[in-house]
Subunit: 135 residues, 6 copies
Amino acid sequence: MKVAVIRRAHFNAAHRLHNPAWTDERNREVFGLCNNPNWHGHNYELEVKVTGEIDPDTGMVVDLGWLADLIRREVEQRFDHKNLNLDTEEFKQLIPSAENICVVIWRILRAQLPEKYDLHVRLYETPRNFVEYPV
Amino acid sequence: MKVAVIRRAHFNAAHRLHNPAWTDERNREVFGLCNNPNWHGHNYELEVKVTGEIDPDTGMVVDLGWLADLIRREVEQRFDHKNLNLDTEEFKQLIPSAENICVVIWRILRAQLPEKYDLHVRLYETPRNFVEYPV
Amino acid sequence: MKVAVIRRAHFNAAHRLHNPAWTDERNREVFGLCNNPNWHGHNYELEVKVTGEIDPDTGMVVDLGWLADLIRREVEQRFDHKNLNLDTEEFKQLIPSAENICVVIWRILRAQLPEKYDLHVRLYETPRNFVEYPV
Amino acid sequence: MKVAVIRRAHFNAAHRLHNPAWTDERNREVFGLCNNPNWHGHNYELEVKVTGEIDPDTGMVVDLGWLADLIRREVEQRFDHKNLNLDTEEFKQLIPSAENICVVIWRILRAQLPEKYDLHVRLYETPRNFVEYPV
Amino acid sequence: MKVAVIRRAHFNAAHRLHNPAWTDERNREVFGLCNNPNWHGHNYELEVKVTGEIDPDTGMVVDLGWLADLIRREVEQRFDHKNLNLDTEEFKQLIPSAENICVVIWRILRAQLPEKYDLHVRLYETPRNFVEYPV
Amino acid sequence: MKVAVIRRAHFNAAHRLHNPAWTDERNREVFGLCNNPNWHGHNYELEVKVTGEIDPDTGMVVDLGWLADLIRREVEQRFDHKNLNLDTEEFKQLIPSAENICVVIWRILRAQLPEKYDLHVRLYETPRNFVEYPV
């Protein structure tokens, strides 16, 4: 009897979409306003979905306090109030698009989550733009 | 041409997470504040997803008035303004965690829904914690 | 590494649920208030989900500006502030139920979207009633 | 000790902004897409705010069940699934702009509400456009 | 140059509306489902509005970290996951209606807030029912 | 018959809270994470409230298309995808706190709005923190 448990979390950060292998002109053409060299930022809303069997002793799939702490420690403390390009190891070489941020968060959490659970991540960059991984 | 139709509904209730086979100490350790012997409560938001073929005569998968009535009768009248542990048969022996409530609602509705439809239930315990069954 | 990108959009429109092959009485019985011969209307919220591989040069699955323009041109300009039954080709013969509108939008966008992408559409008729295609 | 109590309600309707004293050209110029002769529509969200003293015997300013019934009978049954221009007495001669609908709802409810209460109405035409009366 | 700063917070709790001076029948008649002797509960959403002058050295009206801590300590720790009638001093003699809870929270916070600030509280009992004090 | 019309808009931006007259230590102490020298950012949601008399010829207080254009030109184009501290004249000398941004937006719009209208601005820095001016 597999159930999915979803926990929402939040962080806000500055970023810039920029490919250093390209000319400035090409970067502006592809990334538009998101290429602003002085950065811009977002309130990122995160949904972490953990899927597994209900433990009959607790009625729970996963301890929600443990999951909330994991997200706080591994995602919020890492990215909240940061410049993703400058302040984080993960995006020193990787463009911090919503797509890439979502995959990076999935990998960080996957490494900490017992194997018996499935993991899906949804990331809202704005209320109108969001991404999911895996599909 | 299968389409999924989702209907939201609402009920609020009191509950307590408690395993009578455990000591009080163990219960407090596992369930934390949710083990309060005097209960606490939530506004539960429910999404019932019914999947099936579009009827070409009506353009509809399922009569939404019928579905809303079914949810009102089988879920809202059963659980709304109730103490889940004390006032309902379903949770006399079963811990009323979000996971278990979600599965119980699925079973109640599944028994009333024609076989040709697939059924999925999402239950929000708070805007930041929610569950889905089946996955 | 497939990621899904979701873009929300909006249009509002009038419509009427009515099957011309039926008597007025049968129409009222099946469609209830939605059969009002003088129309009623909704704010439709649309979620367009495009799934594909992340392009390593851009970090993006799809150019979001291109996608937003596509939705604006093909969906919003076609349906926004329109009477779906009277003002659009798509619903001259087809009942403009949420289910049918969702499938029609999927077909319109599918025809414009490169084959390498998967496409899913979610359409909110009200905050409490919504549909998804495909499932 | 005055407290304000707010109750949300919902109706959806078709309408058209049109001034019969003007030419068609002038109407299109002023009202744009909202002048569509075939109508368009909205999900209207309504907030009714009733302000008064707390009754020490009940802890309540107003019986919320009574207020919800009043709104259902006087506003929802009158306007829900209607064409505001064609199906209602109130907008036969009056342009059904959000501003006018808001004032009309205030007058309807004001006439039914005991004098000791203050009344304010907020009406959402879309999630991004809304009005309040009185100010 | 006075600006209002609003901070949202959250707690969930069980409660019962009951006037011990009345018969059971009268209680059921007035409070309906909210009179359930076995309690029910809600997710309460709280908005605390603090109004004052902008400090030119900080650009801020009030230190938001300090305000969030104040709300956590004085409101969330007091009421979260509690039975308002049984577990709190404030509602031992006072009916825990949304109106009374709102006034009680205002008094608790008012006592801790420097006099130079104005204070307003909005409390959501459900997304469709909420109250404000003072008006 | 005065009615208030509210229009929501959106921009996202990077910023830093920093008082150059203070030591780095004092800045970190007062502004915490918001003092990050590499910036962070937000999705700002804006509500512009314009209050005035209903024009009996149009049923409207203000032309909503004109108001939306004004906000787009004067606020969104100025601040969207910008670094408020580096890219805007307004915050070269002024700390871009939510309070100050709100007052600045009010002044910009006030200068463009006919005198007969009252103007109020609400600015969401996050869904849980927001400000209003004037009060």
